[in-house]
Symmetry: C2
Subunit: 199 residues, 2 copies
């Protein structure tokens, strides 16, 4: 059935969408992915179950959209490019550390990562929708630096992006270390030191 949308109904839709995303993120952090249900999300969001099913086929789909909505900002603008690669990377990674250190962000992200470690299909969707677009922003920024000569032409920029991002993600996910500004700055400096054109 066609949905005849008026300005009012689309404002209502947008409000429901946000309520559903907030409810899904809060709940998955509280009960874990396995025990998350569409009923639970609907009840927490104060909407009918059918409202959710009209827009999303599964709880995984709701969650992926909820997470994507939180990172869309980066996606559209790309990483900052002031011409100073080290400063730009430190700026973004320090902001990301603040975000990852926020308990409200931690719980749902951990629940999804845990579910993904066992569920291959969920994990592949999760990576394609969330982690790959993020990685690509770094790859693009490094490629731009390659064009200006700040990064060597022979560098594999995909692996360089992983050298920056994986130690960061791993510390957080496995709780092997703190995400401090000191860590971020040393990591960026040590990675970039290896990417410079050979003298």
């Amino acid at each position: 059935m066609a949905n005849t949308s008026t300005p009012d109904s689309s404002r209502r839709s947008e409000r429901s969408r946000r309520a559903i995303f907030d409810a899904a993120l809060a709940l998955v952090g509280e009960v874990g992915y396995d025990k998350l249900t569409i009923e639970g999300i609907a009840s927490r969001a104060g909407v009918g179950k059918q409202t959710i099913y009209r827009w999303w086929p599964s709880k995984a789909a709701v969650l992926l959209d909820a997470f994507t909505a939180t990172v869309d900002d980066y996606d559209t603008k790309g990483l900052p490019d002031t011409g100073d690669l080290a400063a730009d990377l430190k700026f973004v990674l320090r902001a990301t550390a603040d975000e990852f250190n926020d308990p409200a962000f931690q719980a749902p992200y951990r629940a999804l990562a845990a579910a993904g470690a066992n569920d291959e299909e969920l994990s592949r969707t999760f990576v394609a929708r969330l982690s790959e677009p993020g990685t690509r922003l770094y790859v693009d920024r490094l490629r731009a630096a390659q064009e200006t000569g700040e990064v060597g032409a022979d560098i594999d920029v995909r692996i360089a992006a992983e050298m920056l991002l994986s130690p960061f993600s791993q510390r957080w996910l496995m709780r092997t270390g703190e995400l401090t500004y000191d860590f971020v700055d040393t990591l960026v400096d040590q990675v970039l030191r290896g990417l410079r054109p050979r003298g």
Copy 2:
């Protein structure tokens, strides 16, 4: 009660220990951490439940010992040190890639990683017993290279070890890329390029 051990009974104990480890690793891969039980391990290993409880207080303790038994080899010998840091790191990481690409290894490790993402105490034990000792081997090898002048004196060798190991672990855990020899070699070369003393 004191356990009077004879050569025969300690051979029997060692056989039971191995059977219990094999059963625990196989089962956690099949049913996941949450559904793993001491009863299930005992039945698969062909031993009485009490045999397991005599040696280990919990399923987590059995699993951690089972995993540790598979990595003890490295722990006692350290990483190879032929004086060629790049060659040594590529050798060990290629062998580790073979291991991580083995389905028999994958399933139990993923199950434990998934459980650890949500269970902070399990995760901290897991990291302290398994991942930290592994990381320390790399830190030690890099420090040795620092002493011979192959690695700069101003390098943070802990973060350097993470630059090597985290992209590797992350590709595997999140399935973001293949663990090929090409990947390993490029990663080692690109990391080491940044660690050399400044000219």
